[in-house]
């Protein structure tokens, strides 16, 4: 028992000692730990204070500190100080977040900035201004501060660069997907073009957007062909600068603000990289695109593409951070929000809703694409009619692609245009659309039209006043229709243009400038419109191998080369340009025709390898401002400009709008090859009582539509011979000559007329003429009286030479060769004397011979060909006339309603004139 008690005591004592040992060991450890913890906490707080808690939150090495429960106190103290500091920004009605919410609401409407419910099909049109900002997420400052929307500029303003470690790539792509859907979902489908290039894959990037590829809203590019994408973007930049931004405007956005309309869609190009630098060439080209892109509507989104960007760009840097309870999330810092704001990217769109929205967009795009732009869509808004300035060129839409207007530009870079297409392909319709579209935008002081139509038909005649519509297009100064057999008119137009060009060059020189733009600045009060000469079926002008063709080519080359700087533009349309023999061997003649327009099935109008016209659908045109090189192709659907209420309506509106100018300038001169000019109109163009009096034989084929008048002074040789077999033409010619002379002699005693119808067929015309000359002394001489009349005139000549009065006397002989039968030798000699000596004493003969040989034989012995100062050949071959007219081109062949006139005193070469018709009905449109 005692032993047991001892053992029990020992055991208890040992237990007590054991427990005391445990207590000491525990206390020692905890004592050390307490010191270490206090040290660590202060250390952690020091790190956080020195680094800044915002930076610490995105530093992966400090993640452990922020989430360590043992250091929570330190983190809380630092965070509290920070939150207190930022609280002032976060508080009140004018808090930072509140102001940012308002700002983003205003600058990022609808799908651009809405937090939710925005995904869908856009409705904004091309003329809408692009939102200034596009939402990407929510910003947090911490400390209970409200979040605010974070948005970046993009369209027309900036690029976007997104970078981050590999674990954040999925977030980057989701951000890009949402951003693109916001952009595409803001505007009407088709107005924003998306391009995606992924260095690592052809398909699989941004898969939710894939349905957009079916109608071309999205284009996916081969990873091996970044160069192709960058080249396309560079071409677009160049095209915009040379064609749209010609007035010195710095950007498409500015241009849209100035003109109220935008003609180029937006482009967003996404480049998905792998953190490795691009090839040097690609980098250089990309830099150029980045620099020039925003001004031309191109924005680039770069994901993990390392590049120093010397262009407007906003950056998003993603990072993965730990949060309590231990989990990771991806946050960002952005150049918009700075280092003190943590940006939470918006949650990604679900694949299902993304795909559904993409399909909706594609369906709407398809619907819009098939909607046809109308003629009225080409016209500017009412308040903009006639307000554009042509100082730097002429720009006007003629058709539509994807609902966007496609424009033609005539200016420094593309001074002249060639339009090609077979018959029925829509050439005339396109020309009418162009004329109406330009006329609606530029006033007559800014733009003038000269319109020639070589084909049969009267498409341009509608621009002149007519019976049905007394209005005219104020911009039209000259219109020529039905001139396929009057190539001289085309030549006359080219001469006129060359003269105008010379005149402008002289004015420029006098102001010490060189171009039209500069003339306008130097002479702001002057009227210096750009001139557009449109010649339809111009190949007719060069159809023959003759002097007309030779001179026309020379003038065409001259105007084509030098017209650019003087604001003179040619628009030449043809069924087949390459078939014009005159141009073979002169390929340079069309170098200046940079603008090429091809209608369906047109051949050889574009560059050789560019055969896009062969597959053009109906109603479309291929418009190319790059001399026909394929990359300049634009396909446009041309609306119908021939329907009622299209061009006619525009003309009426413009006539009313510019009534004052139209009144000042007067209607355009209309040359209609199918209508004979009216005698009374030609005579009205003469100055009354002019000395010497002039006999009008017809109308010159010139721009002035001037009368072909022969002066008849008292000089040897001043007689007129008309040669030909056509009674009507001869009678009309003589009648016009006589009436014009009658109109210039006012008093009855001033003049005498002897009318000798030696063929019975001429009797009715002579009778009419007598009636017309009722205020004058007229004596009709029949065949049996003719010899006596001639002999009396011979005596009179003798008297006048001795000093008798020299009353102007006109002997008008119809079918003079008939006189052979009654004149005999003595009479013939007398007639020769009348011809030789009559004019110098005021007795002039105007005769019609049916046989050139008979006339030739008359002009011998006492007379010579010189006694017939002016010869008019009607329906005689050139070879026959050659005996009377020296230097006559052998290629002259009779043309109905036309005659070859040669006045020795004034002409070096015979001229073709139009014969007048005293009985012609009033021309539609003739002034």
């Amino acid at each position: 028992m005692a032993r047991r008690a001892r053992r029990e005591r020992i055991r208890k004592a040992f237990d007590a000692f054991h427990a005391a040992m445990g207590a000491v060991l525990g206390a020692v450890e905890r004592h050390r730990d307490a010191a270490a913890r206090a040290h660590a906490e202060v250390m952690a707080e020091l790190w956080l204070r020195e680094t800044g808690i915002d930076a610490a939150r995105v530093d992966p090495q400090l993640a452990g500190v922020l989430t360590n429960p043992a250091l929570a106190g330190a983190v809380e103290r630092v965070a509290h100080d920070r939150d207190t500091a930022f609280a002032s920004w976060c508080a009140g009605e004018a808090s930072g977040p509140a102001r940012l919410v308002d700002l983003v609401a205003g600058a990022a409407p609808r799908s651009a900035g809405a937090a939710d419910g925005w995904l869908g099909v856009g409705t904004a049109g091309i003329d809408a201004q692009a939102p200034e900002l596009w939402r990407i997420g929510t910003g947090e400052v911490g400390g209970g501060c409200e979040g605010f929307p974070v948005a970046v500029p993009l369209l027309d303003r900036s690029h976007l660069e997104i970078t981050g470690p590999p674990e954040t790539r999925a977030t980057a792509e989701a951000m890009v997907e949402s951003l693109l859907m916001r952009v595409v979902g803001y505007f009407r489908p088709g107005l924003v073009q998306l391009h995606v290039w992924d260095v690592g894959q052809f398909t699989g990037s941004l898969p939710g957007l894939y349905p957009l590829t079916s109608t071309g809203v999205l284009t996916v590019h081969d990873p091996g062909n970044l160069d192709g994408l960058l080249t396309d973007l560079s071409d677009r930049i160049r095209r915009v600068h040379t064609r749209v931004l010609v007035g010195g405007l710095p950007s498409l956005a500015e241009h849209a603000r100035e003109t109220g309309t935008r003609t180029e869609p937006w482009i967003v190009a996404v480049l998905l990289g792998n953190r490795k630098a691009l090839a040097d060439d690609d980098q250089r080209q990309l830099q150029r695109v980045l620099r020039g892109g925003p001004a031309c509507g191109i924005s680039v989104v770069l994901v993990d593409v390392p590049l120093m960007i010397a262009a407007p760009v906003e950056t998003v840097r993603l990072a993965e951070v730990s949060v309590r309870p231990p989990a990771a999330r991806v946050v960002a810092t952005t150049s918009m929000t700075g280092p003190h704001v943590t940006v939470l990217p918006d949650p990604p769109l679900s694949r299902a809703e993304l795909t559904a929205a993409s399909h909706d967009i594609v369906a709407e795009h398809e619907r819009l694409r098939t909607r046809v732009g109308t003629f009225h869509d080409l016209l500017p808004p009412d308040h903009k009619w006639g307000t554009d300035r042509s100082r730097s060129g002429l720009i006007a839409p003629v058709g539509f692609a994807e609902g966007i207007p496609v424009e033609l530009t005539l200016g420094d870079a593309s001074p002249h245009a060639l339009v090609g297409g077979p018959s029925g392909s829509g050439k005339t319709n396109l020309l009418l659309a162009m004329i109406a579209s330009m006329a609606a935008r530029y006033s007559p002081d800014e733009l003038e039209f000269y319109l020639l139509d070589f084909k049969e038909g009267v498409s341009f005649a509608q621009f002149a006043p007519g019976r049905r519509d007394p209005t005219w297009l104020p911009h039209a100064r000259l219109i020529g229709v039905n001139i396929n057999t009057d190539r001289e008119f085309g030549l006359a137009l080219l001469r006129h243009l060359a003269d105008e060009m010379r005149h402008r060059a002289e004015v420029a020189k006098s102001h010490e400038v060189t171009k039209l733009e500069e003339i306008r600045l130097a002479d702001p009060e002057g009227r210096w419109p750009r001139i557009v000469a449109v010649i339809d079926e111009f190949q007719f002008l060069f159809a023959e191998r003759d002097a007309v063709t030779r001179e026309s080519i020379r003038l065409l080359e001259d105007v084509a080369r030098r017209g650019r700087s003087q604001g003179i533009h040619l628009v030449l349309a043809s069924q087949d340009v390459s078939g014009i023999e005159a141009f073979w061997g002169r390929p340079a003649i069309f170098e200046q025709f940079v603008l090429r327009i091809g209608l369906p099935r047109a051949r050889r109008i574009m560059a050789d390898v560019n055969d896009a016209t062969l597959t053009l659908p109906r109603w479309h045109a291929l418009i190319n401002h790059e001399s026909g090189i394929a990359h300049g192709n634009e396909i446009a659907r041309i609306p119908d400009a021939t329907g009622r209420d299209s061009v006619e309506m525009v003309q009426r509106e413009l006539y009313a709008h510019f009534a004052a100018t139209a009144g000042e300038l007067g209607p355009p001169r209309l040359f209609d090859g199918s209508r004979a000019p009216r005698t009374d109109v030609l005579i009205a163009g003469l100055r009354p009582f002019a000395q010497p009096p002039r006999a009008v034989l017809g109308q010159c084929i010139d721009v002035g539509l001037s009368p072909a008048a022969v002066p008849l002074p008292r000089s040897p040789g001043r007689n007129i011979g008309v040669i030909g077999t056509s009674l009507d033409e001869a009678v009309a010619t003589l009648g016009t000559a006589v009436m014009s002379l009658g109109a210039q002699h006012h008093h009855r005693d001033d003049v005498r007329f002897f009318l000798a119808p030696l063929a019975i067929e001429a009797d009715p015309a002579v009778a009419d003429l007598e009636r017309e000359l009722s205020g004058h002394k007229v004596c009709t001489v029949r065949l049996h009286q003719f010899r006596t009349c001639i002999e009396k005139l011979t005596e009179e000549i003798g008297g006048r030479l001795a000093g008798d009065a020299r009353t102007p006397t006109y002997l008008v002989v119809y079918a003079a060769d008939t006189a052979d039968s009654v004149l005999e030798r003595a009479g013939t000699e007398a007639l020769r004397k009348v011809l030789r000596s009559g004019p110098e004493v005021g007795i002039h003969t105007i005769g019609w011979w049916r046989s050139p040989q008979r006339l030739r034989s008359l002009l011998t012995s006492g007379a010579s060909p010189d006694d017939l100062g002016c010869v008019v050949g009607l329906d005689v071959q050139g070879a026959e006339l050659g005996t009377i007219i020296p230097g006559l081109p052998p290629t002259w062949s009779p043309r109905p309603g036309r005659a070859l006139m040669f006045d020795r005193a004034r002409h070096s070469r015979p001229e073709v004139i139009m014969l007048a018709d005293p009985d012609a009905p009033p021309n539609e449109g003739a002034p």
Binding site: A20, G26, R30, M336
Partner: protein, 118 residues
């Protein structure tokens, strides 16, 4: 830069001013913390020294007790105890004294025999 972008950045830029002031404040705090750190470094050294002392004394006592119990073969000895998790480090001095007393108690229990066995 567009007007909206400029205004956005201006508003957010106000945070930079705030951040600047916060940096100044943190800087001042950092100076104080560095001083405190020096004190804590010293405290850690002292704590380590104190711990070493207690451990030494404990080792000596443990050796002595084990030696004294060696002859008590009937007793199953226990290994060294684990540190008690609830020991109050503030009571280290008292716990050291208790350990001394407990060791003495073991030794006394061993020395005390039955009256008739002396």
């Amino acid at each position: 830069m567009s007007d909206a972008v400029r205004r956005y950045k201006d508003i957010v830029g106000e945070l930079t001013d705030i951040a600047g002031r916060l940096r100044e404040h943190d800087g001042e705090q950092a100076v104080a913390l560095k001083r405190r750190l020096v004190e804590l470094d010293n405290a850690m050294v002292r704590a380590e020294d104190r711990a070493a002392m207690s451990r030494l004394a404990l080792e000596l006592r443990w050796e002595a007790v084990l030696e004294a119990l060696w002859a008590e073969s009937w007793l199953t000895l226990r290994p060294r105890p684990a540190p008690a998790p609830d020991a109050d480090p503030e009571q280290l001095d008292a716990l050291d004294r208790e350990l001394d007393l407990a060791a003495d108690g073991v030794l006394a229990a061993i020395r005390r025999r039955l009256p008739f066995l002396r």
